[in-house]
Assembly symmetry: C2
Homo-oligomer: 646 residues x 2
Amino acid sequence: MSIHITLPDGAVREYPSGITPLEIAKSISEGLARNVVAAKINGEVCDATRPIQESSNLVLLTFNDTEGKKVFWHSTAHLLAEALESLYPKVKFGIGPAIDNGFYYDVDMGEKGVLSSHDFPAIEAKMLELAKQKNPYIRTEVSKQYAVEYFEKKGDQYKLELLENLQDGSISFYQQGNFIDLCKGSHLPTTEPIKAIKLLNIASAYWRGDESRNTMTRIYGISFPKDKELKEYLHLLEEAKKRDHRKLGAELELFMFSERVGAGLPIWLPKGTALRTRLEDFLKKEQQKRGYQLVITPHIGGKNLYITSGHYEKYGKDSFQPINTPREGETFLLKPMNCPHHCEIFAHKPRSYKDLPIRIAEFGTVYRYEQAGELHGLSRVRSFTQDDAHLFCTVEQVKGEFLNVLELTLLVFQKMGFKDYTAQISLRDPATPEKYIGSDENWAAAERAIIEAAAEKGLKTTTELGEAAFYGPKLDFMVKDALGRSWQLGTIQVDYNLPERFDLSYTGTDGQAHRPVMIHRAPFGSMERFISVLIEHTAGRFPLWLAPDQAIILPISEKFLDYSQQVAQFLDSKGIRATIDERAETTGRKIRDAEMRKIPIMIIVGEKEADTQTVSVRLKDKENGDKGAMNWGDFANLFQELLDNE
Amino acid sequence: MSIHITLPDGAVREYPSGITPLEIAKSISEGLARNVVAAKINGEVCDATRPIQESSNLVLLTFNDTEGKKVFWHSTAHLLAEALESLYPKVKFGIGPAIDNGFYYDVDMGEKGVLSSHDFPAIEAKMLELAKQKNPYIRTEVSKQYAVEYFEKKGDQYKLELLENLQDGSISFYQQGNFIDLCKGSHLPTTEPIKAIKLLNIASAYWRGDESRNTMTRIYGISFPKDKELKEYLHLLEEAKKRDHRKLGAELELFMFSERVGAGLPIWLPKGTALRTRLEDFLKKEQQKRGYQLVITPHIGGKNLYITSGHYEKYGKDSFQPINTPREGETFLLKPMNCPHHCEIFAHKPRSYKDLPIRIAEFGTVYRYEQAGELHGLSRVRSFTQDDAHLFCTVEQVKGEFLNVLELTLLVFQKMGFKDYTAQISLRDPATPEKYIGSDENWAAAERAIIEAAAEKGLKTTTELGEAAFYGPKLDFMVKDALGRSWQLGTIQVDYNLPERFDLSYTGTDGQAHRPVMIHRAPFGSMERFISVLIEHTAGRFPLWLAPDQAIILPISEKFLDYSQQVAQFLDSKGIRATIDERAETTGRKIRDAEMRKIPIMIIVGEKEADTQTVSVRLKDKENGDKGAMNWGDFANLFQELLDNE
């Protein structure tokens, strides 16, 4: 019997039933087959060696696919387990999943006790030795009884506990070499492609995240098909560590955290506040040009507000808990979003079609509970400020509003120096229209508007069917930073739900009440997260217009403090942010410190400069950065030129 | 036997023991005696007819004194009761105190049931008739038994209930005419000075504020020694009603409240946000010139923060209740003040004497619980934004910092058009130094610094001993608005307590750790309260630099919309905030609406203006406001001139 296999490019090929994805790859090219790590059959990831019985859609996964990487890394986790068992026979295994970058395995080292990174080279060597054996990953479906007996004999209580929650008939083992693991897959065909391995880190973790249970040793690692890829990755890690916004944020005195104030609640120090305010002012000005109206709303809202919006039912239990009043029995919540407040603003007076679109904007600080262990600098916090706006418009205006927002978002990326980005358009699943709120025509119109607007702006886009929220289609930007890492920044989301829940309406040309469309949008996303990305993208060397200190005046001795003051006053009059390093340090030390502080321009003043009313200018991070002496006015012109060229 | 009486000017006079304040007044001048309403003997207010047995300090109170007014109004409340009893013999009486403006009496009308304002003229007439009898207010000290028997016989259960809580030996009756009241005083010598009476309002109130008890009828009124004063007061009330910031705030679309968001939580609409932001930006700029550093802190803080600061113990029970986390058992509070966060910022790194003064500023929104019934527009709210700053300095720097803050505060008053203000300096009571935290020398130095700084700035000041907080002396501004009403705006408070509680220190010139002094200050006080005063002071006619819309362009027909757009673009390029009234209304209607919206400048454009590239300018609220036609550039110059003259 033969089956039809449909490939991603739409090509349909005929094969005998029972053929494996790997065999299909070989039928296309030997080179492709060598790179195949797994397959996706009708949308489900599985081993490339799994026979296909029926006509199917097939995607062959390589290491370049996100899902392919996960299979590769998960297979390496099994290899780690095999190596550990061979080195430390008493070791017992918890779970060993792939993660975003690599994998880990939680293990109980038994009598060996603690493992340390000193043990890594031996383990890595053993892993590579085993990989070279090119052992196949063999899947076997087993009965629950068989599986329980196997791990009882082996004496691994962790796997036995995992088995308790599994249904008989759904249990599989994977074996490579001498190592057998309880695992649902998927895996590489063999260990052969695993050519480069690095164990990265050791941590301890409670078994099943429960602090009353055993502490396991969690070993993190990563692997690649090529040594060169591993080297590049390790270099990236090194570079990322240097650029870590938590480290730079402290060094540059941008923000701090306080135990008493609370974890995940950033406190913006003066320089960080200046940076953030400058970003906000930039966006405010651009928004004003585009007809946005700024508002300010409270940071709490009555429980009824969130019952109306639906947030209470959906998020109430997992959020910061309600705030009660000492008398009168009122209940408030810290606001998790600004939209309900903005809906109340829309609703507070009658609106006509002539007033639309209404664009209500706010730099609104919202509060969302995250577990302490999940917090990370400014990028994962419990309070953050959205550069939020809600556009209320007619269905016909959606495209115009999208164009307006896209243009603004692209301007933001350009001003921040982000040059590499793509847009993902999330549409509804046309097969299940009942899952979505809003009429078919409105959905079709909005989806078409988004696609057309993105095309008109010449955006690189991907389109995902079924990824839309139940309340509307959306567009997300993925932005690559200087290290090639992708960040989701900037979202535009159509919403048919809140206008319904808040019973919003405007009077149309026909004199009847109509429901407006609502669009949520935030070009930065959140100030906190955006600035964390910006710090790591620029390594703290902000564009001149954003830099907290744009210039620093370095008098070569205290004799020139007076002259430095005169220069500082001139710079201030030109709106140039400059400070004086008044310390009694050597000029060399002052220059090094200014470099550490990543101040873009150094202005050195000594006898010659004071006598001739000039300044000696040195630009950081620029070729030919040493500009020599020039008079004040020329410096102001140079400064303006630098700003204009950003 | 003779006694010595010391008068407020320091003069000491000798009198026979048993003389009354009224007799002393007469001995000074008959005119004075006529105006005396009560006296203050050794700091305690009492009847002017009370004999003085010992040498004492004496202040003779007239209606012009706040305490004198209270006696006058409380005496009028008794007169109201007398009139009611004479008109409605079954009436029963609760309490009848003086309030800030007038008095009220809570009464149980018995079978008469409800009273209405239609009954006021008759009651007022009866009161005036009784007042003309010039009956003395006679105080009698009575035993509890006598008092109980009296009110049992009279059948007044309210007075009987009040008596339950009084100690025998401390009970007094006051009688004027046929009316006797249980009262501790003080009162006028006679009813004669009560020449002008107005009953203002009726409300219902639970007996003793307890909703399970009887509902009483509360009758509000006010009285004056002269008819002219009453007329002026009623005019002021009328004017204040027109200027009520709640009414104007809604009309001018500055702010709104939403039931779902919650009472007392202002939502700033676009025009209000623009106004508030302009005020904030003005202060930010002035603060930057004066070496302040802006920070941004979260709106919540861990419970430990407020245990450290002492706020939790002091205010915890009466505040918005703690916010718990769904896991991890953490507890946060909505921040009631910004100071603890700023202390954490000071403490986050080592500080040297060279760094001081450090001036940490924030427009920080704080949340304080008020009962719903106490809320009032923007002036009494549950969330408000302080223009807060905390100055950390050495004891020697206190005076310089005070001068700096006074200068800034006076600039604020000048820019807002407040011309009439006084400063109250609150010092400690030198007799009880143990009540205060901080060393004697520090207190003495800080108090001297404040007094000297205020004198150097030429401020009109009053000094109150014993009015300082336990943690430091302070200076408050009392500002009079256009209606002559006083508002407390702007506070400067020295604090020796928080630096102690947060264990703040800096390294002095001696290399040792020293405790900094902390100064709290807020020139506006809170943005909400300040803007409520500003709205009422200006009646919504904001100074040009603050006005949400500075100009409105009124095309006399739609033919001139294009030309209006050109003018609007020119104005925008000059930074002049202008809109176009594009409606198809008559010019007369457009002018009236622009006046309603209190827009300072109207620009009328028609055929003549379009042909000659001019604009016809009309200034609101200015003499010779009609400026005729002028070209665009001349208008821009006129505009700048108007700004400069503010």
